[in-house]
Symmetry: C2
Subunit: 285 residues, 2 copies
């Protein structure tokens, strides 16, 4: 039985009941338009928690002017079906005014980490993310929350916020999921035409090749980035926004690839902005 | 028995133990240098909670350049004695680096409410307050937290933050406390010379007179403010910074005094910045 709540007080009372039953509470915050990547988060949450809450909320404050807030997909019935199939206990799908009533005035800002990569082209985006995630943590008070490594910068930023504000929530990262053709799963993939999708596959191919080069011993970060740029930059219809070779926790630019590395890319394919990345941890010398 | 903790994990484990015993947890956040005003907060907390936590932390991020962070009094032994006398269960007195380790990057900002009154002359002050209060709420996870109405703007800002971030903490306001001579209690009063203190008493006198005028039927906010300015502005050695006649919850400027009003003043007396206020609720027509 999946319950659906639109009100904060409904969530609080359902979570309180679950706590009284001694259940561990897991939260999967999403914008809805659930895909295989989200399903992997739901399953990770189900494996560790008796009571899983999924939020479906297209958060306006993390969209910039001219971005796709209005057109972002909101397939509520399909999302609910997926949540039911995956054993989600509670879906929280609030109207905007429940989250941002008149007079709302508070922003949570993480400096540094938010300024580069996606933050450079999406000013305010991570403020919106941090603020809504802090709110969801306040509403649900979960033991653990589940985020995809696809949104690698978001994950690093949320972790920094949780550490800095001493929030008692364990942050769990789940691996990026790809469709059969290699495209990283994203709710925005449905914006792509067939031709655009074919072009977009270059991102996954470039990152797969990068993994091979790193596994074969490439350690020079500039050469790694150049390899991605050369391959993906040649693809017609793909406009690279950035290629970052950074530490996955601090997002600090690397000169040498050692121990762990995040190779992150953003590109416009037609009018659709896509991100993808390669994460390598526990790298030998 | 009052325990003293310097580490966040010590606080968490002590609070967890208290929760296991079924105790309600109250938090009194302070900068230390405890006075009668703080004691009234401790007593309010003790009356409602089995387990009272007091934080003693001179929070650097709420002091501006040129303010008194370095010279702010830190009478730790005296503070601990007061906490013991008042039945405080746990004193949290962290070193600065426990609260702000290297790499700390997060700020909680409340817009609007923080821009006027004390916020106008102390840019960043309320960001520092909100961030440290959010941290203390994250560390202690209290059922209720106790603040003085002396810091009326701080109280309004913290309430807004708690509401906006859906923090599950009840905010309790305790009345402003005055010394026998009428000066509002403040850790900064000890900076005053005897002559300065005598001058500073004009603030309490002006606010007492204002109360009488309002009780006698004065409803014009500009006239209320002028009355305070006339009396306190004439006092040698007292430099008024602002006189605000506002709604105590929204801090919106009032034209008419109705239902409830906060008359707040800030002044420099010598080199010491003092604040004082008059709060009237449930005012008849």
């Amino acid at each position: 039985m999946t319950a659906v709540a639109g009100k904060i007080r409904e969530v609080r009372s359902a979570v309180l009941e679950a706590r009284r039953r001694g259940e561990r509470v897991g939260l999967v915050p999403t914008l809805g338009a659930l895909h295989h990547g989200h399903v992997s988060l739901l399953r990770a949450a189900r494996a560790e928690n008796g009571f899983v809450v999924v939020s479906l909320f297209v958060n306006p404050t993390q969209f910039g002017p001219g971005e796709d807030y209005e057109s972002y997909p909101r397939p509520m019935e399909k999302d609910l079906t997926i949540c039911r199939q995956e054993g989600v206990a509670l879906v929280f799908a609030p109207p905007t005014e429940e989250m941002y009533p008149a007079g709302f005035a508070t922003t949570v800002h993480v400096a540094g980490l938010t300024e580069k990569m996606c933050g450079a082209s999406r000013p305010g985006h991570f403020d919106g993310v941090c603020t809504v995630v802090a709110k969801l943590f306040g509403i649900v008070r979960p033991d653990a929350a589940y985020f995809g490594e696809k949104d690698a910068q978001q994950l690093a930023v949320v972790r920094q916020m949780v550490q800095d504000l001493n929030l008692a929530v364990e942050i769990r990262a789940c691996p990026l999921v790809r469709d059969a053709d290699g495209l990283a799963t994203s709710s925005r993939n449905q914006y792509l035409s067939a031709r655009e999708r074919a072009s977009a596959l270059v991102l996954g191919r470039a990152l797969a090749q990068t993994r091979e080069r790193i596994e074969a011993g490439e350690r020079d970060a500039a050469s790694v980035a150049d390899g991605v740029r050369r391959l993906a930059g040649d693809e017609p219809g793909v406009a690279l926004e950035y290629v970052a070779v950074v530490d996955p926790d601090t997002l600090a630019d690397l000169e040498r690839v050692e121990r762990q590395v995040l190779v992150a890319v953003a590109a416009k394919v037609g009018s659709t902005r896509l991100i993808d990345n390669l994460l390598v941890r526990n790298l030998g010398d």
